[in-house]
Structure formats: C-alpha cells, structure tokens
C-alpha cells in the first residue's frame, strides 16, 4: 500500500511515494539516499538514526514516514553548511569524539537537539533545580546524551567536545 508524502530534508523538498510500512529512517536511506542517519538497531535503543524532526531530536527508526508529511528533517549532513562543519561537528573533530564513526551522525544530531533543549530550559533526570535555567555540566551532558550508544567508547571525548560547546 503506497502513500505519497513530501519531506523537506536538509533544506531540499523531497516528494516520495512509499509503502506505508516504511519508517522515516528507511525512507531517508533507501528512498532518498540520505545515508547519514544509520540503522544500528531499528528499535530506538541505540540512537544511531537520530535526526532533527521539525527541530527536535528523534529516533527516525520508530517513526513511520507517512506520519511526517510536510515535516522538516535535518540530518548530520544537513547540519554542515556548504561543506563547513557545524560547530558541534568541529568540536567532535577537535576532541577525537568518535572512532568508527557509525554512531557519530546520530551523536551529532542528538547533541545539537540537546543544546536546544537546554536553551529552552528543559530539565533532565539529573537536574537539581527544576525552576531555574539549566547549567550544562558534565553530568547533564552524559545524562542527556545517553540515548546514543557508542561501542567504540568515545563517551569521554564526546563530553569533552560538548563541554566546550556548552561554555561557548
């Protein structure tokens, strides 16, 4: 059973016809050849498929593409503007915050979404003061990025990369 939808992916309007069973992740990867979001588990348990959907970070493997008609999708590829890495991507490079790189586009999207959430004052499980602005310390970064697994074990370098972002 096919459906027709339109997505705006990394700034480009992309109409597509797809099987209603298709997830947003598969639509991006198999239909649109947007391969920066990765399939690590297909169950929302690893975060490798994280993209920004209308500005919020989501795991694209748990979303049916047909429910996203008209939505704006930003992937790690789209965060880099005209070949220039996004500041978060630059920080990842500086701190060697990745090894095999497979989880990295998801980590980057998750981090960008996370920084927005902090700016909006969203508390996390480890936030003590639920009323004031959030101070993005290391513990907050770790908690807020825990939806993104990295088997190479780049966690401490990812936190180091985002610590600088948090300070700037």
């Amino acid at each position: 059973m096919d459906a027709r939808i339109t997505l705006r992916v990394d700034g480009r309007v992309r109409p597509l016809a797809l099987d209603t069973r298709t997830t947003l992740l598969d639509a991006l990867r198999d239909h649109l050849s947007v391969t920066s979001p990765k399939k690590g588990c297909d169950h929302g348990q690893c975060g490798a498929c994280t993209v920004l959907l209308d500005g919020r970070r989501v795991v694209s493997c748990l979303i049916l593409a047909v429910t996203c008609d008209g939505a704006e999708v930003t992937t790690a590829q789209g965060l880099a503007q005209e070949g220039e890495p996004h500041p978060v991507q630059r920080a990842f490079l500086e701190k060697d915050a990745f090894q095999c790189g497979f989880c990295t586009p998801g980590q980057v999207c998750s981090a960008v979404g996370m920084l927005e959430e902090v700016k909006a004052g969203h508390p996390s499980e480890v936030t003590d003061d639920l009323t004031g602005p959030v101070t993005l310390d290391d513990e907050e970064i770790r908690e807020r990025l825990s939806g993104n697994l990295c088997r190479c074990g780049a966690y401490v370098n990812i936190v180091a990369a985002l610590r600088e972002e948090a300070e700037s």
Partner: protein, 703 residues
Amino acid sequence: MTVWREAVGTPAARVEGPAKVTGRAGYTYDRPVTDPAYAFPVQATIARGRVASIDSAAAAGVEGVLAVVTHRDAARLADTGDAELAVLQSDEVGFRGQFVGVVVAETPQAARYAAGLVRVEYEQRPHDTELRADRPGLYAPEQVNGGFVSDTDEGDVDAAMEAAAVTVDRAYTTPMEFNSPMEPHVSVAVWDPGERAPGGGFAEGARLTLFDSTQGPHVVRSTLAQVFGLPPERVRVISPYVGGGFGSKGMPHAHNVLAALAAWAVPGRPVKLALTRQQMFALAGHRTPTIQRVRLGAGADGRLTAVAHEVVEHTSAIKEFAEQTAVGARMMYAAPNRRTSHRLAALDVPVPSWMRAPGEAPGFFALEVAMDELAQACGLDPIELRARNDPEVDPESGRPWSGRHLVRCLREGAARFGWAERTAPGTRLVGRELVGLGVAASTYPYYRLPGSRAVVEYEGGGRYTVRIGAADIGTGAWTALTQIAADALGCRLRAVRVEIGDSDLPAATVAGGSSGTTSWGSAVVAACRAFRHVYGEQPPAGAEAGADMPDDPDAERFAMHSFGAQFAEVRVDADTGEVRVPRMLGVFSVGRVVNPRTARSQFIGGMTMGLSMALHERGVLDHRTGHVINHDLAEYHIATHADVVDVDAVWLDEEDVHAGPLGARGIGEIGIVGAAAAIANAVHNATGVRVRDLPITPDVLLR
C-alpha cells in the same frame, strides 16, 4: 634508518574525520549500487535437528518477491569444510538462528514480510547448550586461538600448592558476551555471472564483488574465493568504512555467503543483506562463557610458587573456536610451578569467535581478581605483590623481554590515581555510598602478522599515494599509516594519501590482534624505503614501488608483550547495591605511540568496554530453546554515556627497539584487559564482597 621526525608521534587528526562527523562517510549499506534487491534471512527456530519441509509458496507469492532460496535450491558451494560458511548446503540445523533460507525482494519491507511467511517444519533432535564444569564430554582442543597449545604443565603445581604458606583456589566465571559493533554486519553482493555452469554452480567466468563491513577485505576475499571455488582474482571485497568490529568482523561469517547465494539467485541484481541487531546475536560471533579455576600458591612474603589456570568454555558443535583464556597466565608472573589448560564443551550454540582481546579479556578477569585475593591473604598491597612476582625473563620461553615495564606502569598509576588513599575493605562510607579503589595488571602480546604489502606511487606535484588493502574499523590506522608514510618518505603529512579498504589494493592482514598498524606500518615503511631507493628524492610522476612486510627476526628472540596497569574507583550504594565507576585510569607500556590522539581513544575505548563487561554485559541463553533471550540493545546492555564518567589513559614514553621499524607493539586490545578485574577489586575494597562472577550486579553486593 627512518627518522620519525614530523608526523609519527604527533596527534594528527583522523584523515577521515570530516567525512565521519558530517555523515558523508559511506558505510557498506550506504554505497550506491544500481537497482538493488534486498535479502532477508529465514532462521532456524530449533537448536538441533534437520529441516523436514519448507513451504515457501506464500512467501514467493508476495508482491515484489524475486526469489526464495533454501537448501533445496541454493547454488552448490565448492568447499563446505567450514560448517559455519556451508550456508544452505544441507538440511542440518546446528544451532538456533542458523540460516535455513533467504528471501530476495524489491524492497526490504517485502523481503522481511515474506521471510516471515516461509513455513519450515523441523525434525527436532535433543540439544544441549548448557556449559558446566562437571559435564561429560569436555575435551582438550588440539590448539587454542592464536596457535597456542591447549595445555602446559611445568613443575608440580599440586605439591607446590600443598606446601604453600598462602593459597588461593577459586572459580571465576564470565558470561557469553557479544561484540555488538554499532554497525550491524552488512554484505552487498554483486555477481558478474559469466557463463552459468550446469547444475547452478559457479562457472569459471563468474566474478563476485562484495561490499562488506569487514576487518579484512583480503581475508574475506580469499575465504569466499575458496568457498565458491573461484580464483581469488575473481573476487573483490570493498570496505572503506567499517562501523566497528571488535573481532566480530575479523573473519567471514555465514551472512557473507548468504548474500552471495541470494544475489546468485537473482541474476543481474546486486543484493543488499543487512543483519538485524537481533540476528547478530546468533550469526556474528560471540565470546564464549568461561568457567575458570585459578590456583595461586605463595610464601608468606607473597612470592608465588604455583600458578594454575584451568578453563572450561564452550564452542559450537558445528565449528571449533577455542578461546585462549589461560594463555596469559603462562607469562604473567614468575612461579616455578605452572599449569594451564583449556577444556571445551561442543554445544548446540552459535559459533563463537574473536571478541576484543580473546583470551586475555576473560582470562585476566580471573587471574587478576585471584591476585587481589592473594594480596589480601598475604596482607600485602596488591601493587607490591605484583612487583614481587615480576619475572626477569618470560617464564614460559625463557626469552628476555623486549621491554617489560609492568611495575613502572603500576607505580606511575598509583601516584597519579591517589592509590595511597585506599583504605581497608568496607571502611570508607561517604553518605550512603561505599567507596573503594582497585587495581589490576594488563597485558597483550605483540603480534606482527606476515603477508602484508604496500605500494607507493608518486602522483606528481609533490603528492604521494600509498596503497594497502588494510581496514580502519575506528582504530585510527588510516591516519597512523599516513603519518608513517609521510615520515618514511620524508614529506609533509598532507602530501600523502593512503588508500585502504579494497582487496584490489595490495594484500593486508586482518585488523586484529592489535597487529594492524605494526604489520601494515612495517610494510608501508619498507615500500617507502624501496621507493626512495629506486627513485631518490626527485621521482618522476607515476613512479611506483612496493615492498612486502619484512621479516621480524627479533620476534623469535624476545618475549614481546605490552603491559598496563588498570585503576578503578567505585561507589556502591550501601542500600541498593548499585555500582558506579566515577574514575578509571590506565597506564600502558606499548612501545612507541604513533598517534597520541587516536591511541588515547583506543585505550579509553577498550577500558570503557571493560567497564561494560564488568557491570553490564551478559548474554542469557535459554537452554530449553537455545535462544539468546536478551538479543537486543535494550536488554543486552552495553555502557552508555551516563555510565562512563572519567576514564583516562596515559602511557610510558618509550619505543621497543625490537618491535619492527616503528618500535610499536600495538594498542587496540590491551585497554579491555584487566579493566573488569580492577573494577571487581575496587568493589571488594568498597564493600568487602568478593565478586568472582561477571557481570557485577547489585543483588550480590547486598549482605
């Protein structure tokens, strides 16, 4: 002699870094192929028996399905000697989850849906998946992984234990563990069929191109060429980016063969096969569970008189893989009486394989917790105990060490970590948390594998290309080889481009055994020297020279191992038993470090995996069904951000003059070795509870 002047030893950023962080790096499934079809496997739902019947009519009738392939109609393989790779060649089922068929369709959704419609009836036979130390049928393998003998026995361990003033005699266990790289195993098979042989076999003219997520394109090529009966030059394996492997992509597995069989069934179509995360738990290798008995005998001064390490572990009934769990105990400590052994149970389980530091990782959990127990029994500081038993020469071979600096690592680490603050077990309570420090020793052998070759070409304009069919699975090898080539050629880093990840490039050994950078790097050095020897400093554009990795005579004369000291602090909730690890420090002696930036990442990555091994990882086999129950990342836990607080690694500034032209011994695996023991020892220091079974779960810490 090459001068390491500008590039080697500097923290160069990863050459492929920008492609990775911006998502442009194309992993195996991401590679565009024309008009792909998609494969989805059908897996056995019994642990042992045979396929009695298959009804694939419903699956074949699904719109978009191109083929349903089973043992009845799969192309015949030329070599079925490796039962893991003899895919769809018989009706036999050797473990639950084994491939019994594959559906190829126009879309992944259709293939998956149709695979669920294939009805398979089985003739079930009794199966056995449970490892116990007292079970019948345990056997000694002819050799264990790495080519080591299964058993060693020197002196008289029993008499020495009898006579020892202090003894430790304990059993330790580690569970079934899964490599779980973030990128699931993927193969994309493309046939250029040539003439089809009668009977569906592979004719002379056939060519297979496999885009594959692998740690060794050349290994996959040679193995698949043999399996399919093709000359190696008719198989090409391409693998530029690999999303982690940790050993599980070190040798070909059944899915490689299945992808090629599936593609053979749909002539003209490339076929993409990506294992699901769940399928990986049956089909991508795992670390065997182990039951280890360690016996230590010592004088009252802690000097060891006996070391015995006897291991029971499993292998698959269809294919033997014997993890070398006790081998490290042969060289680690000086003791006149030493015994090691491996006993295997051949079970109806998936095929075990390499997982980061096979042998040392589980073996040093047992050995190094036992050493902590001995220190406690002797009333000695664990670092002092290890110092007293540091051997002058390799106890096993009698050879001198090329460089053994374990004690330096331990002392350096003690100073940096604040070891002096360690108190008696169970005495440091901060709030409702028990705090403890632990230490463990670490080691990993120097392997330099023969069989690599590199070629250097001058492109003109000051630019060089170095070609070697190696793999960078996240290790930093790509960058390290670029640095090595730059210094060996005497040019700037940015003047060198290294090509890897393709079996059309010169031969390279597997990215395994922490041997990649040393083996490939030696070949690169040799090729660069050959190039300069022939062409000098002013080569013409297009000039090209190559060389094989030279022999390594010192490897026969010296005992060559890396060493390390692992430190951990734990905090245990006194009421719930929950364990946190706020700090880990590793101090390593590995010879020369080619790239401190990527080396540190490797060390802390290994230590992080060791933390995960200590606290989280445990595959649970349901012995009634032979099924790994927790076969996903929600239930098979690996450490996440919140579990990993402060993990740091440093190393001694040194080179190993016996370790080839680079003086480097390899760094990929040592980070995991001893890490779990350090945490277990810290847990003992915090709580007074001795944990001998991994993972350490809260329930065992409540008394």
